[in-house]
């Protein structure tokens, strides 16, 4: 398995609070991604990073921000959590952005917002 650790694995919080999820990798891969998984939608890209301090938006970025201060860490922040952000969040990494390269996924964070 790729060396990807997501923390926390489970979190319950209240509407309006800020939440930060962490992805840590030991593979020294340049590219990191955050997805959310919802029934009926598969996985959808929230944000991705192509290097330290280099990030860009995915298809469902509203209400989320990211930061990458070190190669190994990619943080996802929900600035003011809403119930619609209840989901399972996955981090992924890849060695390059070439379209033929697979991504490798962490085990996810299950986030519930009450």
């Amino acid at each position: 398995d790729a060396g990807i650790t997501q923390s926390p694995r489970h979190k319950v919080t209240e509407t309006g609070t800020p939440v930060t999820l962490r992805c840590h990798q030991t593979e020294n891969h340049r590219y990191m991604y955050w997805y959310r998984q919802d029934p009926g939608h598969g996985l959808r890209l929230i944000h991705y990073s192509y290097g330290v301090k280099d990030t860009d938006k995915g298809e469902v970025s509203d209400g989320y921000s990211v930061s990458r201060s070190k190669t190994e860490d990619f943080l996802l922040t929900l600035e003011s959590a809403t119930s619609s952000q209840t989901s399972v969040y996955f981090c992924a990494i890849s060695e390059s952005d070439r379209e033929n390269q697979p991504q490798h996924f962490g085990d996810g964070t299950r986030l519930s917002i009450l």
Binding site: G42, R44, F90, P102, Q103
Partner: protein, 111 residues
């Protein structure tokens, strides 16, 4: 825009029988297609990919996939299903800095 569709939410197959999980794609340009598997409470695991070349792609755990350009399909297959193959399967296609996933097919292998 790149997209994939998985027409079956659920597939049931008896242990030892061949299995097929269907995927169709819509892309502009050359398709780069992937299959992933997800076990309970785990992330997605890469199974195989189609880039170019042979239409039959072999992957992990005895799985293979058949690329069919005329039918725009990329079906996942295995000659003999195991109970341990029961999981959620996702087809995906690459776009600009993104993987576009299907909605997933839950495979249940019945002993």
């Amino acid at each position: 825009a790149q997209s994939v569709a998985q027409p079956e939410d659920q597939v049931n197959v008896a242990e030892g029988n061949p299995l097929t999980v269907k995927c169709t794609y819509s892309v502009s340009g050359n398709p780069y297609l992937f299959w992933y598997v997800q076990y309970p409470n785990r992330g997605l695991q890469f199974l195989l990919k189609y880039i170019t070349g042979d239409n039959l792609v072999k992957g992990s755990y005895g799985f293979e996939a058949e690329f069919n350009k005329s039918q725009t399909s990329f079906h996942l297959k295995k000659p003999s299903a195991l109970v341990s193959d029961s999981a959620l399967y996702f087809c995906a296609v690459t776009g600009a800095n993104n993987l576009f996933f299907g909605t997933g097919t839950r495979l249940t292998v019945i002993p």
